[in-house]
Amino acid sequence: MSAVFIFAGAFLASAVEMVEALTIVLAVGVVRGWRATLVGVAAAGVVLAVLVAALGPALRLLPIEALRLLVGTLLLTFGLQWLRKAILRASGYKALHDEEAAFEHERALAEAAGERAGFDWYAFTISFKGVLLEGLEVAFIVITFGSAQGRLPLAAAAAFAALVMVAVIGVLVRAPLARVPENTIKFAVGVLLTTFGTFWAVEGAGADWPGGDLALLAILVFTLAVSLGLVRLLRRQRLTVRPVQA
């Protein structure tokens, strides 16, 4: 069961981050040309792959309880951030991420940057930075998810599958993937990260879950119910407060 959750979590988190990276790459590539842009993408991909290949096995040198405590703590703080933002977006307190607006913004910046003869370092730097920064979150999730459960290849395969899917769709569509329900995916990933973070932090602290791995399902249902309840409460609060402010 945990294998399914690990694959789903790594795949969804990777897909949503890669959609954001694709927007940056497309905007830069369309305006500045593809050679330097794609070299930047490849360079960032190499850095991320080295990071996962080096840090993943290194983490496994830790005793399993210490590893789960570390990974659980990191995933819980990180996952709650995702969930918090997704709940604020779902309830209308934070603007939804708009890929088309992000694309136009990046395109305007790329057009405003001056042109120079030779290799386009602007295109390289922007695409490298964009892919690296978005990819760091993916690498972090792959490393933590994979190493705590001893399933690093599975988590890495999920991220790679997401990369291939987004890249193929990006090549076919040649436009920012504005129709992808990013907030819904981020909400789901936030719930999964928080669930695994809670599970591993408690196990790493030395406590035992009743029912063993089945407790994952119970924590997932609990986290999902609390999150949906908070969205509902905040929506109601926003609608009640708005007429007073107006």
Binding site: L76, T77, K85, Y93, V202
Partner: protein, 64 residues
């Protein structure tokens, strides 16, 4: 160096440091209760729910 530290702060702690501190305290309490001979699996899930609710309450009251 400062930008590097800011990046990691944003990455791991994010918009509400109190949420991260609450999580750390909750996990520390779980460790201590375990060392005291209890099996405190029940502590973290409701605490996380409470911390998230408080953090959202603060965020929703902040003027935008």
């Amino acid at each position: 160096m400062r930008r590097f530290a800011t990046f990691w702060w944003d990455f791991l702690v994010g918009d509400d440091w109190r949420l991260a501190v609450g999580v750390l305290l909750g996990i520390a309490a779980t460790v201590l209760l375990h060392l005291a001979g209890l099996d405190p699996w029940w502590l973290l899930p409701p605490l996380v729910a409470l911390l998230l609710a408080r953090s959202l309450q603060r965020a929703s009251r902040r003027p935008s």
